[in-house]
């Protein structure tokens, strides 16, 4: 199948948000997405973009996306974090995901970082195997911790 991997433009953000929503449903969190296409347009473009997005385009339609940004490791310096890589369900198995994955790693190489990182769900053994085969390491001994807005407000009020 013919497809192109390219940097996303602002006009792609509506399709990108559709894919974000599709991934949230796959991850069993259908109500978790509270950002809008407008937020993506504002935050990902302009002078100080918060992320870089790549899209897979087939026959003029956005069928996949990878969204990444820089982090800072106090051991390794600047790193690339891959936040999401999504391929539309009916387009899986056609090489789009792999091409987007390669594109992100190439981006990391171009930027001269020493690490590309992301997270994977424990039960997604298919993805974990793929990552291991491609030369990445899955760390099972680090847990993600998140303090959400409501908890932040409560904590700050309590410890004033």
């Amino acid at each position: 199948m013919e497809f192109t991997i390219r940097k996303a433009s602002q006009e792609d953000m509506t399709a990108v948000l559709e894919l974000i929503q599709e991934l949230a449903e796959f991850e069993k969190e259908p109500d978790a997405v509270i950002i809008s296409a407008e937020d993506l347009k504002r935050d990902g473009f302009g002078e100080n973009p918060s992320f870089t997005c790549f899209v897979a385009e087939a026959a003029g339609k956005i069928e996949g996306m990878a969204l990444c940004y820089f982090r800072y490791s106090t051991w390794k310096g600047k790193t690339v974090h891959l936040e999401d890589l999504v391929v539309r369900e009916n387009m899986r198995g056609k090489g789009l995901g792999n091409a987007l994955y390669k594109r992100v790693i190439q981006f990391a190489k171009e930027e001269g970082v020493k690490r590309t990182e992301w997270v994977v769900l424990e039960w997604n053994t298919h993805a974990r195997d793929f990552y291991n085969r491609s030369g990445a390491t899955v760390f099972t001994d680090w847990c993600t911790v998140q303090m959400e807005e409501e908890a932040m407000d409560k904590f700050l009020a309590k410890s004033r």
Binding site: F70, E83, I105, T137
Partner: protein, 156 residues
Amino acid sequence: MEYVIREAKRKDMPAVLELIKELASYEGATDEVEIHVSDLEHEGFDEANFKCFVADVKGKIEGMALVYFRFSTWKGRTVHLEDLIVRESMRGTGLGGALYKRVVKYGHENSVRRVEWVVSEGNKNAQEFYENTGADIKKNWYTVHMDETGIQKNID
């Protein structure tokens, strides 16, 4: 004990790197620290790729917290706490709690919907502390790293 929590300055970076190395040594990974003082100075102050807070006790840096922004495709901009370190001899004096609170406040000031970090699975004390402050521990998300060797392997 008297201390001040303040934004780090460029001249604090040697002390900050000392603390980074102290944490790495505690984690048995001294050789993993590849950055230098000049990297911290450049990335933190010329490029603004992170923000650092320090605990200053009578002019000496005894603790630090280093944060930066991330972008969640669910929640928008978030604050990530990369490291929070208190010098071993100064633990239990309230510096860690004060730095932790400063980071949450920084998240609030910047109107993010989430502050996040990672914790070692074996560090039950820290996990309990985080949960008591209202944070959630996500045990089913694993971190994946691809280092330079892995990156190169995918380029060829």
